[in-house]
């Protein structure tokens, strides 16, 4: 990962360390940062953005405590293996609204449940475009 992927807004109400933790969490959740990928050093991030290295350390340490990052000897910070998939309940909570909407529309259109599930199954096994 390149230090310039982070966007630092000193004037924002959000503290700088939280801007960093938030962005890295999203980059990991979105798969832009993959498990094992190395993060830029504290020095690089601080130097590029002209911010206090202690702010970057604080952000990294917090992400390490959360299990998003892993401190590897001689390699610095890397994305942890377990960091990518959010837990099952969280993922269901994300898709439930779409399922609710689908069920409602299927009822409005009076489509049979079996046929609907078959069509959904077909789509799930197809390669995404």
């Amino acid at each position: 990962m390149d230090a310039s992927l982070l966007s630092i807004q000193p004037n924002a109400a959000e503290p700088l360390y939280r801007q960093i933790t938030g962005q890295i969490r999203r980059l990991v959740a979105g798969g832009v940062l993959r498990p094992g990928e190395t993060l830029p050093s504290v020095r690089d991030v601080a130097g590029l953005h002209a911010i206090n290295p202690m702010t970057v350390s604080k952000a990294y340490s917090q992400l390490e405590a959360e299990g998003v990052l892993l401190r590897l000897r001689g390699k610095g910070m890397v994305v942890a293996d377990l960091a990518a998939p959010p837990d099952l309940a969280t993922r269901w909570a994300l898709i439930d609204p779409a399922l609710d909407a689908l069920a409602r529309q299927a009822r409005e259109l009076e489509l049979p449940a079996d046929a609907l599930l078959d069509r959904l199954k077909t789509r799930l096994t197809e390669d995404p475009q």
């Binding site: 000193p10 360390y17 130097g47 002209a50 911010i51 290295p53």
Partner: protein, 303 residues
């Protein structure tokens, strides 16, 4: 050897690098400092903000013993600021708002001269920085632009590798690129060498990049001194609708300002304590809250 000994001794220094207690100063019957107490912990980068004329330079000068306060006292590593020893001065770098001229000297001559007083003077750093900043050693100080003069003053303060760096409006004559470069230098000194830094500015975004702590000085009074992250997490501006505002009898806990909201009701800014919960008012239906950027908070607090 001397320098090493000094360094290892200072590593055990637990007293505040810089502290002021009850400073009062008047000029021509005008109060410039009104009972200011402030201690800077080792390794902190304290940004001092305040409007022009708030007393920032006077506070800095009093803390370094360059002027005598009418009351109160200041210490540098526990030593009274008015009686600093050479050993203490060698651990201290100061960039005044108006760098002294020494106009008859060339840039290189002045730096070489000053360097002799400092055992830890970093001559290679001086040469590399002069080259990077395109400042010829043989240029007369009198011929420098204000920005160049400020750069020389900054270089002069950084070259002795000070453990305490004090900068009074260091960015005022620098262009944006120069300012960014200076901030990077301050941040890396603090982060990598543990240098304690005090700098005053009225450019809040500069401060927000590098400061670990912030102090608000307003009309000679210290209104706030806090860790910067914590300050950003402890403030909220509440928009209180008319119906709720009408029932507010007392100040909201932590209230720092209150004014009529342009669209009716009240706008109340609160700053809660480190371990204090948000005021109950936050839970009242219709009340909206937003965290304030530092600049807005400064305006609310000094209103």
């Amino acid at each position: 050897m001397n320098a090493m000994l000094e360094r290892s001794l200072s590593a055990f220094d637990t007293t505040a690098p810089l502290a002021a207690d009850g400073l009062i100063k008047q000029y021509d019957h005008r109060s410039v400092l009104r009972d200011v107490s402030l201690a800077i912990e080792p390794g902190a980068v304290l940004g001092l903000i305040g409007r022009n004329g708030a007393g920032k330079s006077t506070l800095i000068r009093a803390m370094l013993g360059l002027i005598e306060p009418d009351a109160g006292h200041a210490t540098v590593w526990g030593v009274p600021a008015l009686r600093l020893t050479d050993a203490i001065k060698q651990r201290l770098g100061y960039v005044p708002q108006q760098p002294e001229a020494m106009a008859w000297l060339q840039v290189g001559e002045m730096l070489d001269f000053i360097g002799r007083f400092y055992p830890r003077w970093d001559a290679p750093y001086v040469d590399a920085t002069l080259e990077r900043w395109q400042l010829p050693r043989n240029r007369l100080l009198a011929k420098l632009s204000p920005g160049e003069r400020q750069r020389v003053a900054i270089l002069r303060a950084l070259a002795p590798r000070p453990e305490l760096l004090v900068l009074d409006e260091p960015a005022s004559a620098l262009d944006p690129v120069g300012r960014r470069e200076l901030l990077r230098e301050i941040a890396s000194r603090a982060g990598e060498s543990g240098t304690t830094v005090l700098f005053s500015t009225h450019i809040v975004s500069d401060l927000e990049r590098v400061a670990s702590h912030v102090a608000f000085l307003h009309e000679g009074q210290l209104l706030l001194h806090s860790e910067l992250d914590s300050l950003k997490e402890r403030n909220l501006r509440l928009h209180v609708p008319e119906s709720v505002a009408a029932q507010l009898r007392e100040d909201v806990p932590g209230e720092v300002s209150r004014r009529p909201h342009p669209y009716g009701g009240l706008s109340i800014t609160v700053l809660r304590g480190e371990d204090t919960p948000w005021p109950d008012l936050l839970q009242v239906p219709g009340v909206r809250a937003e965290a304030l950027p530092l600049e807005d908070l400064f305006i609310e607090v000094s209103a």
